[in-house]
């Protein structure tokens, strides 16, 4: 295993600045640093480590620990170097006898109220207090508890007479992942500041004053778990002692090495150090030089990795003749030849196009590339699709039509330059938490926020943040709202005409301007449809158009509608109208759902597109791959996921290889998905667990987690990040090897020895990846595509000098009401989403301690709607649509408007997708998850569907004992 050499990630004490150069002298060494830099950091840059405890370079300087004091010639006293900015010609002494004496005195006081159990302490070897005691030369502590007197320390539970010490507090172990031991706290405030400045949750505070000062989570009766704490881990990372400590470290000891890798949860794509002790992963720590996360993390990436070793993991291949049979464990050869023979047999009987693949947005680029190649080169058809179908396919279509590429336009750093942030149909604090923290930081610094969402999501009002405007639109009316914003901008003359003339097609703009100026698009005219206050909408439009750098961030609340693609075009129109494209702080930013949903699209997972978003109809594109692969490529688009299921029900689609995706739980209209799967003769599930789809599978190929393989993920900002093998695959093979073995069992003759070879093939065939190779990723850490001769170091910002397609296109966006309408039978609108602690179908997070935050899906319903139905908080309720029905518990909240209900889809026993329908985006077939007409009523137990489903699942998951 090759260890990645970690660049210097030592703590520099205070943050980097960008001012004009200033030269000073520290301990006789001349140092030049940007204006605004602290003396502490300037010394660190010169290689001089000034002792410190309360300073950390991801926090504002605080100046409380008094350990970093220095002497500066011409100044009185001994200022704290963390809070003292450099000045030209300053002469600093960091190690004079005077400051050494002060530091030793300070340390002596700290240690007088700290237990001396270093040898058995969980932070032994990883404790800054211990390090600083050594650095200042502390040899003696003169302060001891007075004999026979009241004990005045915080760390002993009882005094020598056995009396309880009122100052002592027990450990708080309520959080499943870390413990809080108040007896070891030095009140440096780093945890409190990290919670405020880095995470932006403000869950922690210092309670009391002076000697009574204590770190406190939440209010008087709270512990960590009941407080607002989101368990992001920033406080644990900030703590210099064992006060806030990962339980894994307490249990397993400190790490001895680390490997930099990329989180496999959401589309933010955070970089982590996987810290190892021997071959055991003891901790995941956000990597400071990760360009997506800049050293921050959320509860999922930081802590929820235990699923990799969960007992439910299947490590041996299994097959069965019929889905009514129990599974039979077999060796790899038998499983692969069984699968290959069945697939080839189906093709012989039902035609070449009777089988297909679903690539995984959770697997690496290299793995995804091989799965689509399997369809195109080995199956001989284009029946490949990916879960992006059900999330961001409208982004691909909409931005492709307007800008010429589906790419999000910015990097995440861009938010630091934004003046007006518009969040549409996204819930970043739950779905993209690390980006949300960066966004909130920018809003606290003065940027304005506009939230367009049916629910009052956390961003609307959260500590120290309030949205300037919240437009709580009725689900399904996105196009009307976005068009009304454009109407205001155009009719009030707020557009950036110079930008439009220079960068966009003027004729199309004029047609668009005439269209959008029609009074039927005005906020007043559409408010009856949308439910949005026209004055509020006008104010929001004016703010976006005139408030400086305007950036739009959007999620699946935009795409997962009948008019998803149209809304994406409307959003692109807004950015073009206001000239908010092509520089830092602006842009159109799709927040991708899964870790590699961007990459899976880039890699040609869609049935109509070869890698690099090139339509299969193009002979010149096919020629590139025909030459590389030595096969003929079908010129016709293949089946999309919903089309595959329809064709299966029709009897023309009989076999599916589904990698790392659980379509039965994640795709809409579960009954239809189940019927499609049941109609197939060979379903191959390649996954970590017997997921819901596997209930209908004939072959199960065990998968590997992101910890067990090499490869790359591409995040929402098009950033290609390395995934590095931390432990060997528990199932014996990385997923790319399994796909290769399946391809070879079907006669492919592939010989990839490492994912780097696959990336070479991607670079050789795909212009936007032409410059990408593992050596470059090793050198740069990550790159954003396009990365090629024109952009050898990648492309942080798109469309800087012109749109990808040349001139930007304004497209007319007429609102068309969805056919999913409320009526007497189904009077409420259901919209769906996700929650911070759980991820997608929950296959991973449900198998971690994250269930303490969310152990079941609940139905959010407005108290008025609940009252008329006689529902109380916590009641079991029946949720029914024309597609199906399920039961779950009700949660009464005014976060949803009257008429709207909301739930998540993390748990298979709820199966929220039994309710969702087969309506989909007009252009891409992206399902309309966000609008379903439903009825809610009291329930006295699981529905027949739930009972039948549970029985079928239990039956389908039986595994025969292995034959000896």
């Amino acid at each position: 295993m090759k260890d990645f050499i970690i660049p210097n990630d030592r703590d520099m004490g205070t943050s980097a600045k960008t001012g004009a150069p200033v030269t000073l002298e520290i301990d006789g060494v001349a140092v030049t640093v940007p204006e605004g830099t602290s003396v502490l950091r300037a010394a660190a840059e010169a290689g001089i480590s000034i002792p410190k405890l309360c300073a950390s370079d991801n926090l504002e300087a605080f100046g409380s620990c008094r350990l970093c004091v220095v002497e500066i010639e011409g100044r009185r006293g001994t200022p704290a170097s963390c809070t003292t900015p450099v000045t030209p010609g300053m002469v600093v002494h960091t190690g004079s006898a005077k400051v050494r004496k002060i530091r030793r005195g300070v340390m002596e006081l700290y240690i007088s109220d700290h237990p001396l159990d270093c040898l058995t302490c969980s932070a032994n070897g990883d404790c800054e207090l211990q390090d600083m005691a050594g650095a200042v030369g502390l040899r003696d502590v003169r302060y001891a508890a007075p004999e026979n007197g009241g004990m005045v320390n915080h760390f002993e539970a009882r005094n020598t007479s056995g009396e309880a010490n009122p100052e002592w507090l027990p450990k708080d172990d309520s959080n499943p992942y870390f413990s809080y031991d108040p007896s070891k706290c030095i009140v440096c405030n780093r945890c409190v500041r990290a919670c405020e400045e880095v995470q932006g949750t403000f869950a922690l505070t210092i309670q009391g004053r002076g000697f009574d000062s204590r770190v406190k989570a939440g209010g008087a009766d709270d512990d960590f778990l009941s407080s607002d704490c989101v368990s992001c881990g920033a406080c644990v990372q900030a703590c210099p002692t064992a006060t806030l400590q990962e339980k894994s470290i307490i249990e397993l000891g400190t790490p001895d090495r680390s490997v930099v890798t990329t989180c496999a949860y959401c589309g933010v794509g955070c970089s982590f150090k996987a810290e190892m002790n021997g071959d055991t992963l003891v901790r995941m720590v956000p990597y400071k030089h990760g360009k997506a996360n800049r050293g921050h993390s959320c509860v999922k990436g930081r802590f929820a990795y235990g699923y990799a070793h969960h007992k439910d993991r299947i490590l041996k291949p299994m097959i069965r003749e019929r889905i009514s049979d129990p599974w039979r464990e077999v060796d790899w050869d038998e499983a692969l030849s069984f699968a290959a023979n069945r697939l080839r047999g189906l093709q012989a009987q039902y035609g070449k196009k009777s089988i297909g693949v679903i690539t995984s947005s959770r697997c690496t680029n290299e793995e995804t590339y091989l799965v689509q190649k399997l369809a195109r080169a080995v199956f001989g058809n284009n029946n490949t699709d990916t879960c992006a179908r059900v999330c961001h396919s409208p982004t691909g279509y909409g931005l492709g039509q307007t800008f010429g590429t589906s790419a999000g336009t910015q990097d995440f750093d861009s938010v630091e330059h934004t003046d007006v942030v518009v969040v549409i149909g996204a819930n970043p604090t739950d779905g993209h938490p690390v980006f949300a923290s960066r966004l909130k930081k920018r809003v606290r610094a003065g940027a304005k926020l506009i939230v367009i969402d049916p629910r009052r999501i956390d961003l609307v009002k959260t500590p120290h943040i309030a949205a300037a405007h919240h437009l709580p639109l009725r689900p399904g009316t996105n196009v009307a709202v976005v068009s009304a914003i454009a109407h205001v901008i155009v009719t009030e003359g707020l557009m950036d005409e110079a930008f439009i003339r220079a960068r966009c097609d003027w004729d199309e703009f004029q047609h668009y301007a005439e269209f959008i100026s029609n009074p039927r698009h005005s906020p007043e005219a559409t408010s009856m449809l949308t439910g949005v206050d026209p004055a509020e909408l006008r104010a929001a439009a004016r703010l976006y158009a005139t408030g400086g750098n305007g950036a739009i961030y959007y999620g699946l609340g935009v795409t997962e509608h009948s008019q998803g693609s149209t809304t994406v075009m409307g959003i692109a129109n807004l950015a073009m109208l206001t000239g908010n494209i092509g520089r830092p702080g602006v842009g159109v930013n799709p927040l991708r759902g899964q870790n590699n949903v961007q990459g899976s699209c880039d890699m040609g997972s869609f049935p109509h597109e070869l890698p690099g978003y090139r339509h299969v109809k193009g002979p010149e594109v096919r020629a590139i791959f025909e030459e590389a692969w030595g096969v003929q490529i079908d010129a016709e688009p293949g089946l999309r996921i919903p089309n595959m299921l329809d064709a299966a029900v029709d009897g023309t689609f009989k076999g599916l290889y589904c990698q790392g995706e659980d379509i039965l739980q994640s795709d809409p209209d579960t009954k239809h998905v189940a019927a499609g799967l049941a109609a197939m003769d060979c379903v191959i599930v390649h996954d970590l667990f017997l997921n819901e789809t596997a209930n209908y599978a004939h072959v199960f190929l065990p998968g590997s987690t992101f910890l067990e393989k090499d490869g790359t993920f591409t995040n929402a900002e098009r950033r290609i990040n390395r995934v590095r093998k931390v432990i060997p695959p528990l199932n014996g093979y990385a997923d790319w090897e399994v796909t290769q073995m399946l391809a070879n069992a079907m006669g492919a003759g592939w010989t990839y020895a490492h994912p780097a070879r696959i990336m070479e093939e991607i670079a050789a065939t795909t212009p936007s990846f032409a410059g990408v190779d593992y050596a470059l990723l090793e050198e740069k850490g990550s790159v954003q595509w396009p990365c090629n001769e024109a952009h050898p170091e990648g492309t942080p910002l798109m469309h800087v000098d012109g749109f990808m397609r040349g001139k930007g296109r304004f497209i007319v966006t007429e609102y068309v009401a969805t056919d999913e309408k409320t009526g007497p039978r189904f009077p409420l609108l259901l919209t769906t989403g996700r929650i911070l602690s759980q991820y997608n179908v929950g296959a991973q997070t449900r198998r971690t301690a994250n269930v303490v935050w969310h152990e079941e899906d609940v139905l959010e319903i407005h108290p008025h709607d609940a009252e008329v139905r006689g529902l109380k908080e916590g009641d079991w309720v029946r949720l029914a649509s024309r597609a199906g029905e399920t039961t779950l518990r009700a949660k009464l909240t005014d976060r949803v408007s009257p008429g709207v209900v909301y739930t998540t889809f993390h748990h298979p026993d709820t199966q929220a997708n039994v309710i969702t329908t087969d309506y989909s985006d007009w252009a891409t077939n992206c399902p309309e998850y966000k609008v379903t007409a439903v009825q809610v009523s009291l329930s006295n137990g699981p529905t027949d569907w739930q009972e039948d489903y549970a029985a079928q699942a239990a039956q389908a998951r039986r595994i025969l004992p292995a034959a000896e």
Binding site: K353, H615, G638, V812, V816, Y919, S920
Partner: protein, 68 residues
């Protein structure tokens, strides 16, 4: 695919392109279908149109005649 679902999908596409400027809406619907609908879906649409095309938007019917 059920005929109702196919009609619904084809009509959605037609509805979008009808709102767009120009006079070639049927051709643009046909181009969209050719680019994104797998051949057996297009054949099903074509056969449905040949059998009367009940419920299909006029533009979708005209588009169906333009696709291969």
């Amino acid at each position: 695919m059920s005929p109702e679902k196919m009609v619904h999908m084809a009509n959605q596409i037609a509805t979008f392109f009808k709102t767009q400027p120009g006079t070639d809406q049927a051709a643009r619907v046909a181009a969209h279908l050719t680019d994104y609908w797998e051949p057996r879906m297009r054949q099903q649409l074509r056969a449905f149109v040949d059998a009367g095309g009940k419920g299909l938007d006029d533009i979708a019917v005209r588009a169906a005649h333009l696709i291969e």
